[in-house]
Amino acid sequence: MMPMLFQLLKQQWKKKLRSPYWTQSIVQSIFLGFFALYFILVFLGLGLMADKILEEVFPEKDAFVTFSGLLLYYFFMDIFVRFFLQKFPSLGIKPYLTLPISKKQIAHFLLLRSIPSFFNILPLFFIIPFFFKTVLPNQPAAISSAWLALAILLVFAGNFVSYYIDKAFGVKPVLAAVLMSVLVGLMYLDFSGYIPLGDYLESIAFFMIANPLTLLAILGLVLLSYYGIYRLFNDHVYLEEQGEVESSISEARLWDMNLFDRFGKPGEIMDLETRLIWRNKRSRTILYVSLLFILYPLIFAGDENFDKPWFMLIMSLILTGAFTLNYGQLMLSWNSPHFDFILTRSIRIEDIFKGKYYLLAISNILLFVLSLPFGFIDARFWMTNLAMLLFNTGVTIFLYMVVANYSSKPIDTEKGGVFNMEGFGAAHYLIILPIIIIPVALYLVLSSFLGSAVGMAAIGLIGLLGIIFREAILKAIVQNFKSRKYKIAAAFRKK
């Protein structure tokens, strides 16, 4: 069995190395590399300094006690975070099914391959230094080893439990939303003091460390979820259940409504695009994530920068532009699977850009309305949100259109994943800089001379100018597209 697993592993590794997307985007690999390194250093630093930090924050408690109490708490958060961020392996299974490899081996392989994930390695950079610096020197050997076992078992449990949820419910984002609200609800109840959840989890953690035999329960959880996924794979190893073979669709997705019919030709494109968004996995994920971004400023509540206007501007940029920033940045790549259709049919490319523009503008407005309640936390949000609504609609969308003309790559619209970077090039990262810097710098400069209101007004005015002259700007973008269309089309054919 082992040599076969090894073979599969080798082939998957080659698949990764040889995928055009990997070799083509060096910038991206470097970016991801730095990203990973950053997190490793942060965790390593935290692991080494945790004792000091925890004693600072909770001076009345011992660092070991405080942290151990947080372990189970972390575990629940971990499941939640992994569910949204971790990409769990699913083999490009088709070529293997007809070879003499048993389904069991394939299932075990998929399961084992989830272990060397960044999400499992990263916690070790915290756990191990913390163990050697804070736990081992201060605790008896039995307690120390129980602590280490618990910490590592929880990493595995987090991996397999969220893997199970991902595979079992991966197709049901509604369930994910329910799960999340339950978790958020529990956290809220804990914070607000209705249920001392943290205390319960703390006592459980201590009980386990003191009675190492109970650790078997966690081990049981690991094995149970492992077996659960194994069963899922074994029962659903057929192609149709992996989404590789035809599957019928529910009537619900087949609505017969044309929302934007009255807008003429661009409206037809808008209707096409709304179907595209709803019926493709990647765009659907982006839609949900954009809605989640509404909660994003809450992460920073209490941060010392929270009520600084420049920081509020950045939050408003993301609040009102969540969909534009996420969906809009792949502007034309969404159409890469049917690009030749667009080029050979009597569709005016003007209408395509117009349709996309209005659709994104509508998303900005909807998100603006949804984020109005932030004004009750701080009334200035109304101003920053309005300024950034105008800026996103009058500037950001156009910038992404220009990027699309120069840096469009094909994407698989049916592949989901929050950290899916397919279709991104250097330009997609660089363009974020002006989108953030222009409004913030404009505000900082103008407000220091002429006051805050003028700074806000200036950002809004730039956006407003873009909106007023949208026809002219779109025309220029379309002209530019026409001179680049062969290059874009050629890129889209390289799959």
């Binding site: 073979v245 050979t344 619209t413 089309a489």
Partner: protein
């Protein structure tokens, strides 16, 4: 003298120094059933892509009704094509796709439905009312959709790349009849590896080799033999 509906003039396409298509002159006349044959890499798809302005010619031009296809989009109103899946919109159902194509030609839903009725045999009950997206169709059924969609809007010129490939034998026969039927009022450009089929339906066959026209035949009883001899000669 007949008027050429499509004319290739001094047309060249090369990638990094390697010439993949080099045709000094080729005229396709209105009403012709034009068959293009050649081995892999002979330049068939390149030729079609140039006619459809999907790639930029390195030299020369393609004229459609006398106008360079790269300079105008007028030809899109009377030219339809199906080369591969990227001509389909894969997240639509077959009905939605037909309707969308119809809309582009100013047809309403009823127009499209009436039009589709005549192809019920051709679809063989595998295309309409299926409640699934085109990306979940088999290759053969995708091809059926693409071919019929290429007839919506009564185009004057229709380009089909390998129309017989992936189709079941019955559908291949139906397609042959269909091609003869529809070509009464339009010009048809077909590329194919199937020498028998292509000689059956086309009244003119052009053989490409390394990007050049090596044979240009009016179809007769001997054409198939001649083509078979030509392609066996290199064995």
């Amino acid at each position: 003298m007949k008027e050429a509906i499509i004319e290739l003039k001094d047309l060249k396409k090369g990638y990094s120094g390697q010439v993949v298509l080099d045709i000094s002159s080729l005229q396709i006349f209105a009403g012709e059933r034009f068959g293009l044959v050649g081995n892999n890499g002979a330049g068939k798809t390149t030729l079609f892509s140039l006619v459809l302005d999907l790639i930029r010619a390195s030299k020369g031009e393609v004229l459609s009704k006398g106008i360079n296809v790269a300079n105008t989009e007028e030809w899109k109103k009377y030219t339809s094509s199906f080369l591969d899946e990227s001509f389909l919109i894969d997240f639509q159902t077959a009905e939605e796709y037909f309707e969308f194509v119809g809309k582009l030609h100013g047809w309403n839903r009823t127009d499209v439905q009436n039009f589709l009725k005549q192809f019920e045999d051709f679809f063989n009950g595998e295309v309409l009312d299926k409640k699934k997206y085109l990306r979940d169709f088999s290759k053969g059924n995708q091809k059926k959709v693409g071919i019929i969609a290429a007839l919506i809007g009564h185009p004057e010129v229709v380009l089909l790349d390998e129309p017989f490939a992936n189709l079941d034998p019955t559908t291949q026969m139906r397609l042959k009849n269909l091609i003869v039927e529809i070509s009464k009022e339009r010009t048809l450009l077909i590329s194919s590896h199937d020498l028998a089929h292509v000689t059956d339906v086309c009244n003119r066959i052009v053989v490409l080799e390394s990007g050049q026209v090596v044979k240009d035949l009016e179809t007769s009883a001997e054409t198939l033999k001649e083509l078979e001899a030509h392609f066996s000669a290199t064995l």
